[in-house]
Amino acid sequence: MTFEPRRTVLYDLQKAAGARCINFGGWDMPVQFTSIIDEHRAVRTSCGVFDISHMGEVFVSGPRAFDWLQHLLANDLAKCPVGGGQYTFLLNERGGVIDDLIIYRMAEDNFLLLVNAAKIDEDVAWLQKHATDGVTIDNRSDKMSALAVQGPEAARIFREVFQCEMPARNTFIAMEKCRGAIIAAGTGYTGENGFELFFANSLAGDIWAAVLKAGAKPCGLGARDTLRLEMCYPLNGSDLSPDRTPLEAGLGMFVALDKANFLGRDALLAQKAAGLPAKLVALRMTEKSPPPRAHYPVLIDGQPVGETTSGALSPSLAEGIALAYLPPGLTKPGQVVEIDIRGRPFTAVVEKKPFYRPSSTRTA
């Protein structure tokens, strides 16, 4: 099977801004512009902008939309008011993660699901498989673009570009700006203050230019990955999978086990009663080592007990950091393990999440 990587409508403008691209989830996306470390620091100290147009926008509406989504999603949608956003999961019957997503409540009976690029087709197929009367599923991923603007300067940039205040964390506003309809949400994947914009493809060039002019630095997926890893935000396909539950991933606070039945709930309750087989922990290298990366064995007394699912040199901490599923008894902060890097063991310790606490983050 061969397929051409897809490109967002901003591809040419980003190439012109110096983007170096890689294939990510079937998309030809910038991994960096100047330097991953520089872009990471820009987001931590000023502001960066990421093209996230590869992500999927799926609208679900209709008189039965709320009840139906409440059954398909793990978090409690009743706690998401109109104008709010909520982190949640699509789970399979085994409680495993199909996708993690943000749901925005556009109206009482109208929702926008922001889903991972590589999972758009699978998510939509899953939704359609469970489709019912009174619910309309409208996948607008190909028609919409999106930008994430993140960092301490994001609020100023928002004011400069849109002449109004940036929406608060986990809320959004629908605006008519730049000659089009824009959804602006106080969400992100970096831990910093910031916003994400969703809009028709035709507006992408103008908004990209306006955000750059206001001072945001173009950033690629490389910095996006190191930024999210410092916050211990999971990446689906790496840290989340159909064979791991959100409870194992340490994301139980986004799963409403107390709400009426939802897909995967029985499996989660059974898993909770039986005890979790493993837990996703944060590991920090405590000796000089090559950067940890995904799929390195984690050892105790030379014996493998798990493997890393993500890893990087943290640009903020200048230390190697990683996530790994470890069995019970080895998941408490302070637990010392070794990570096998090319056949050599290096010492690491289980840390409390997150690795890094951004200075710009307001108290949520």
């Binding site: 960096q32 330097s35 991953i36 470390i37 090559p290 990366r293 990087a312 090319r342």
Partner: protein
């Protein structure tokens, strides 16, 4: 990109400086520019035998670990210790302070198979 005239080049973007029976190996300006943000260098062990075209060292950028292939056969006689505290020297000074290791050449005729500066310039366009 800087391609000094006094060096020989491997297609896999390593350079070698030959002085008598000693060769100093590093990666090219083009290679460091492609990798960017080098954060760790895993050098070969002193005394190790390295083989032309086989991995001899690992250079890690933020985004990836990259094998460095020995341009020719030899025995490692010295590694650049300063890279352990300052791996970014490979970015800032790829042909001088950012050299990786030195070997005693065991098969100098292999040098003839390497690229001239002009051939390497043509390769990287």
């Amino acid at each position: 990109m800087n391609v000094p005239d006094n060096l020989k080049y491997a297609e896999s973007h390593e350079w070698i400086l030959v002085e008598g029976d000693t060769g100093t190996v590093g990666i090219t300006d083009h290679a460091q520019n492609e990798l960017t943000d080098i954060v760790y260098v895993d050098p070969p062990k002193i005394g190790a035998a390295v083989t032309a075209g086989q991995p001899a060292a690992v250079v890690e950028s933020v985004k990836a670990a990259s094998d460095i292939y020995s341009p020719v056969d030899g025995e490692v006689i010295e590694v650049n210790e300063s890279l352990s505290s300052e791996p970014a020297l490979v970015n800032t000074s790829p042909y001088e302070n950012g050299w990786l290791y030195k070997i005693r050449l065991s098969n100098p005729s292999q040098l003839d198979a390497l690229k001239s500066p002009d051939d390497y310039r043509a390769q990287i366009g």
